[in-house]
Amino acid sequence: MKKLSILFAALLVLVIINSCSDDFFDKKPLGSTSENVFYSAKGIDALLIGTYAIVKGSYLWDVSWGASIQNWTYGSAASDDAYKGSEITDQIPVNDIERWSVTPSNGYPADKWRLTLGHGVVRANKTLKVINATEAEGNITADQANSFRAEARFLRGLFYFEAWLVFGDYIPLFTEDTEDPAAVSNQNDPGAVLAFIIEDFKFAWENLPETQALVGKPTKYAAMGIAARAYMQELMYAEAKPLLENIILSGNYSLMPYFIDNFEIVTNNNDESIFEIQACVNDINESLNAEMGIGLNWPHGGDIGMCCGFHQPSQNLVNAYKVDPVSGLPLFTTFNNVDLANDQGITSDQPFVVATDPVDPRLDFTVGRRGIPYKDWGINRGSNWIRKQLDGGPYMPVAKPFFNKSQRYTLSTTTGWQTGINANNYRYLRYSHILLWRAEIAAFENDLITARNYVNQIRDRADNKVVMGKVLITTLPASVYPWGPGSTDADYMDGTTGPYVDWTQPAANYLIGLYDPFANKEEAMRAVQWEQRLEFATEGRRFFDLRRWDNLPAGMRVDMVQTLNDFAQGDLRVREFMRGAIFTERDKYMPVPEDQINLQPGVLVQNPDYL
């Protein structure tokens, strides 16, 4: 028996010794892969898609609304175009952006830094690295490599351009060849950042095709157009001009028949588009593949209610659409002296009469205001549709990125809480940009005929369509649904809403006139600048345009400090929010995120204006 037990013991020892082999420790990650798998055309395509993913302008929850590719905070809410909106206690960091009192610890610019540099540039660089390695291994031809490189460099240029718009020259420049990006300083020689961006776009336009089968991909002209915009930031008109000319002469683009075509889902990727940020919905939970950066900017109140009522147009912007009753031209100097009647402080069931002053027809495609049919959602009820008038003013969140009620759940998200998310593409670069930039250059060069020609083309198109349906009722309590008492959506569709809306009449007194020949370049420049504001309002550009026009010579210059402080003063007629807010030179750029300086001590420096 003792022998038997010893045998057992020996057997056990054998088992123990055998129990640990190298296989036992061989635990490789499941469901992911390593870099060398991508050394092929197919692999590079996959990495490029991963890089395109970043142009969507957010990356919940690593990056949220501060990185929006539409720059609704820095480009719009910080300007005279719009307010943060919503209520003062939500998204507090944007209060400081709107009131020009941003501190280096503000989380919004940190988002922009993280998305553009941390996700965008890094992914573009990794893709470029793989392209180089794949070419070196002989898996793709030099031509193939260059065409891939052109896309990757276009994207890198775009991310750097976006960072540059917000932070100015205080951004670190690193490429796929940089050994340690964390050691790259953000102190650059004057012009170095622009030169770096242009170099990427130049490579892109030299190697990209004129058209792309996949509409989300950039063409040669997209690269030229964004490069031109970069030059425009520095008023380098001579450099921008040939690029713009090239695009115009290509004949590939034309203005769409209607202004609104630039903001409708059904006209995504149209003849006017040069580069669009593609949005799609209902492919994944919460529809995160549409632009989440504007995910909070949808109507909040009442029966239209969604999240969360941010980014409301300003009274100043609304006033800018007033026109001279005779010429139909903007009221350049007097527009903001008196407000176009608004319903601030008036509840939906108290009467409010829509102003009869003549206004540019683009107003009601840009701004949702009380008493005007709001797309196909019903008569705009004013107060009941606004999250908090007292804080965000009387206007609906900006209308351009919104969708139609008839598209709800098919072209807007069915899941998630940012329920206004929809498939509307942001037209990052379109032909009207090209024309008005070209007009700006012409005005500067005293080429008054060209300037007038392009401005009038835009105004002429703006006249092609107006918001229809004169609303005949002046009180809009919740019981008036949605086109008058007892009405239904169908009444809108067949245009039979009885005595509440007269569909044969425009919603307001629309008027737009063409310019007579300009007397001088100052007059031409003013017309071009106004046209850019009216055409591109609330699209996150106004602030950056004011910034560059501040550098024009006297006569053509727009004094940014005065413009914004005048705006803040006038705004007190509507809201208290801007009381005490003062715009200074410092506020032209966002500070370098404090957090990043702390992580790269001795490498990153703060913009001296913030020290």
Binding site: L12, V15, I16, C20, D22, F24, F25, K27, K28, P29, L30, G31, S32, T33, S34, A46, L47, L48, I49, G50, Y52, A53, K56, E87, I88, T89, I92, D96, W113, G118, F174, P181, A182, L214, G216, Q278, C280, N282, D283, N289, D303, G305, D349, S383, N384, K388, T414, T415, T419, N425, P477, A478, S479, E576, R579, G580, E594, Q596, N598, Q600
Partner: protein, 830 residues
């Protein structure tokens, strides 16, 4: 066999404003801001008017818009104002009911034994529509086959089934909805069936808590766990035992969640949906040991153990969801019947560990004790070159009381032992694949509609993780000195341990700058941490009245101090933590604990504009004014270059932020008292914590008016400028104006979290044995028990015993308070 049942209640709730008070507070805020009042519900008058209806906004009875004939769900709901004010807490809670049943049996003979038990717990939570059920059974048995061979096994099965919404410590927890929803909102609209909510103007964005709990009533989590082991043990020669054990632990989690439209909500979800998730984990271990006991010359006892252990663990999960269901019947809402948004996802991971270990014990007549152990552990989480770590430990014991020179103390000292130990232990908790740099495909993180589609994106790849192959075991060295003593005929017992733990090569994944990308950075061996502390157990037990009265008391006290001694090569590196709604409340760095609260120091409230104007401005703002906080201007300039800050600048900015509190307690302890007299027994247990700070983030909502939540009584009655204050100097809060600069991380939000809680009182009665023998019953015991009867604390939140930990330690985001239970129980022994 035992049965217990009872009720549970939420022990505390916030004292909030009613409808009239809330309207008054809104008007106070207008006055404070210097704006003429205008509110969609309360009008524009010099005092607020409470409307009859809030949807349509601010309407009165007789208004044609509130004609019930117009009512049409969901397009035209009508909400009546609740003029007294809805007590959301009351509406959402109830007396929960607990029922628990146990059966346990033991048995066996000389060569075999067994024990099995079963338990069933069924609890209706104190929030409505929540239920928790748990079934447990256990079976252990062993059998001696021959003199030298023994087999045995253990088996345990647990099944948990929970229903309802259990979100805790978050903005969307049921507790949060009790204070986030305004009192004027009724629970139901005029139909009495459909819910009312924040859809009415200026009602904030809280969900109707009753609706939220109701809609989640079918959300169902099921957890199954089976664990057990079986072994064979050989004793080939005397003193030698060779044991081989195979153990396994299997867990399976299944969840079904339902999204039901909430039309009454200001940010409604209008499409129904369903999601399921399932995951399972299997961990097995194979452990082999040989133990040999022997003595040399009788007095020198040795015990030697050698062994090996292999552990492998595998985890798998899958999730799927769909939207748009024809019917919201939970029997219909399965994955197959959802019409759109078909989505699924999965994940898997594995790790393994192999160890060799040995231990040697030496005992000389209970006087001199020594132990040495050695472990060599290998982990799949490290690369091949860095796989193994060696972890020795030594300890010495001295039975002082056994020494002959201690004979004189026998009268009062029964036992005294001194201990000293030094040991090393390892940690490999760094995720399973730290050494690999990976790319991953993802429809969102790397997806883009490159073809212009409105409804589908193309998936690409993105850099997911950065690997580091140079990482190895984190090592903690523990030095422990202790004593065990018994005094006074063993009535008084004392155990004291004083210890220090130094962790080096601490596994830490330092944040990397954005320019290195956003792939998850690897853990590296970089930090160092020091913990020091002591644990004290003091017990006393005795009897009186000739043994009829037995009583005992036991006090336990613990103290620790945590300090980070190294974080990275940059001595100034700090890590912001505890970020909630764009405010970071804490951080850690070298010299602090992990973590500590960080923010501005409040020096009071400005009483006059002149006082405010004389203080340096807060950043580039006009925040400084009467009624706002006075943030301290710290010394931030070193004017003479001696390394000591000796001068203040002229601005209040982030440079003025300092450490303002520590969520770690100085001391925690428990006191357990037992008294028995005749058949009666009484147990009382106190638990307390001293010296820890808490930031009650809930106050940001109810004291400062973050969003349009309901407000605390203090916000109306004790804020600066309140008409109820005789003197503004008595204000406990700054003026009510929702100013975000009053809500930043500051010492005003830090509270003393110390508490003493009576956790348990139990009174039992055991029936006299003679009474029972007639019924063939061995014992019957009845008891009544109350848990959480009272808590002494100055903390303003619902419960100072927080469940937040790690980076969020000490932050109360609206946690469910510990319930108070009233229980009756019966135990019968046969």
């Amino acid at each position: 066999m035992s049965v217990r049942t009872g009720i549970t209640q939420a022990s505390t709730h916030y004292d909030l404003l009613n409808t009239a008070e809330y309207a008054e507070a809104v008007w106070l805020a207008f006055a404070n801001k210097g704006i003429p009042p205008a509110h969609a519900q309360y009008g524009t008058g010099s005092s607020p008017v409470i409307p009859d209806y809030i949807l349509p906004s601010g309407t009165m009875e007789g208004n044609p818009a509130v004609n019930p004939d117009l009512y049409k769900f969901p397009d035209y709901q009508i909400f009546k104002a609740n003029k007294e004010g809805t007590d959301w807490f009351k509406e959402m809670t109830r007396n929960g009911v607990v029922r628990e049943y146990d059966i346990s049996v033991r048995g066996g003979g000389q060569d075999a034994s067994y024990a099995f038990s079963g338990n069933y717990l069924d609890e209706d939570g104190y929030f409505i529509h929540t239920n928790f059920k748990r079934y447990t059974f256990r079976l252990n048995s062993d059998a001696k086959v021959t003199d030298w061979l023994r087999f045995g096994e253990t088996l345990q099965g647990i099944f948990i089934n929970e229903l309802g919404r259990f979100t805790d410590n978050a903005e969307d927890s049921p507790i949060s909805y009790t204070y986030r929803t305004q009192p004027i909102v009724p629970v139901y609209d005029i139909s009495g069936v459909n819910f009312a909510g924040s859809k009415a103007s200026e009602m904030g964005n809280s969900e109707n808590g009753v609706a939220s709990l109701y809609r989640a009533r079918n959300n169902n989590g099921k957890w199954t766990r089976a664990l057990g082991s079986f072994y064979a043990e050989l004793t080939p020669i005397k003193g030698l035992a060779i044991k081989s054990l195979m153990g396994y632990n299997y867990g399976q989690w299944n969840y079904r969640g339902f999204t039901i439209p909430n039309f009454e909500h200001s940010e409604p979800n209008r499409v129904n949906g369903h999601n399921v998730s399932t995951n399972n984990s299997l961990q097995w271990n194979f452990t082999n040991t040989a133990i040999y006991n022997f003595s040399v010359a009788d007095d020198h006892k040795f015990n030697v153990l050698v062994g090996t252990e292999a552990i492998e663990s595998k985890y798998e999960e899958a999730n799927a969801s769909r939207s748009q269901y024809f019917s919201e019947d939970p029997d219909y809402m399965w994955l197959n019947s959802g019409e759109i948004n078909r989505e699924n996802n999965g994940y898997g991971s594995e790790w393994s560990l192999f160890s060799l270990f040995g231990r040697l014990n030496y005992d000389y007549m209970g006087k001199y004790l020594a132990e040495a152990t050695f472990r060599r552990d290998g982990s799949s989480r490290f690369s091949e070159a860095n796989r193994y770590g060696n972890f020795p430990a030594f300890s010495l014991g001295w039975g002082v009381s056994e020494e002959s020179f201690m004979a004189g103390t026998k009268s009062w000292l029964d036992y005294l032992k001194l201990r000293l130990g030094l040991g090393f232990s390892g940690n490999d908790k760094i995720g399973d694949y730290n050494s690999y740099s990976t790319y991953a495909s993802d429809k969102y993180q790397a997806g883009y509609a490159i073809d212009g589609s409105n409804t589908s994106a193309t998936s690409g790849f993105y850099p997911a993780t950065l690997g580091n192959e140079d990482v190895t075991w984190e090592t903690t060295r523990t030095i422990d000195g202790g004593m065990d003593a018994l005094f006074l005929n063993s009535r008084l017992s004392l155990t004291l341990d004083v210890w220090r733990r130094d962790t080096k090569d601490m596994l830490y994944n330092p944040r990397i700058p954005n320019v290195l990308g956003r792939a998850a950075p690897p853990f590296i061996n970089i930090g160092e941490m020091k913990n020091t502390g002591f644990d004290l157990d003091l017990g006393y037990k005795s009897e009186a009245m000739g043994g009829k009265l037995l009583y005992s008391a036991k006090l336990t006290l613990s103290h620790y101090k945590n300090e980070i001694t190294k974080l990275s090569d940059d001595v100034n590196e700090f890590v912001p933590t505890g970020g909630l709604r764009q405010v970071n409340y804490s951080r850690f760095q070298v010299g602090t604990a992990f973590p500590e609260f960080y923010g501005y120091e409040v020096e009071g409230i400005f009483q006059t504009d002149a006082e405010a104007a004389a203080h340096p401005p807060y950043e580039d703002t006009d925040y400084n004014q009467a009624g706002h906080y006075k943030y301290k201007n710290q010394l931030t300039i070193d004017s003479d270059g001696d390394g000591v800050m000796d001068q203040a600048d002229n601005i209040i900015n982030s440079a003025d932020m300092v450490y303002i509190g520590n969520p770690h307690p100085d001391l925690t302890g428990g006191l357990n008292l037992d008294i028995a007299y005749g058949g009666f027994d009484l147990n009382v247990f106190f638990y307390g914590s001293y010296g820890n700070d808490i930031i009650n983030v809930v106050r940001r909502w109810i004291d400062y008016g973050q969003f349009n939540a309901n407000l605390s009584k203090d916000a109306l009655y004790k804020s600066w400028g309140s008409p109820y204050l005789d003197d503004n100097a008595d204000a406990t809060l700054p003026m009510l104006d929702q100013n975000d600069k009053s809500q930043i991380a500051s010492s005003a939000l830090v509270e003393d979290g110390s508490f003493l809680r009576l956790k348990n009182v139990r009174l039992g009665y055991t029936l006299p044995t003679p009474l029972l023998s007639r019924f063939q019953v061995q014992s019957v015991r009845l008891y009544a028990q109350v848990t959480n009867l009272f808590t002494l604390t100055k903390y303003s939140g619902l419960d100072p015993e927080l469940n937040s930990s790690g980076e969020y330690m000490g932050l109360d985001q609206g946690a469910w308070p510990t319930p108070r239970q009233f229980m009756f129980g019966l135990t019968i022994g046969l």
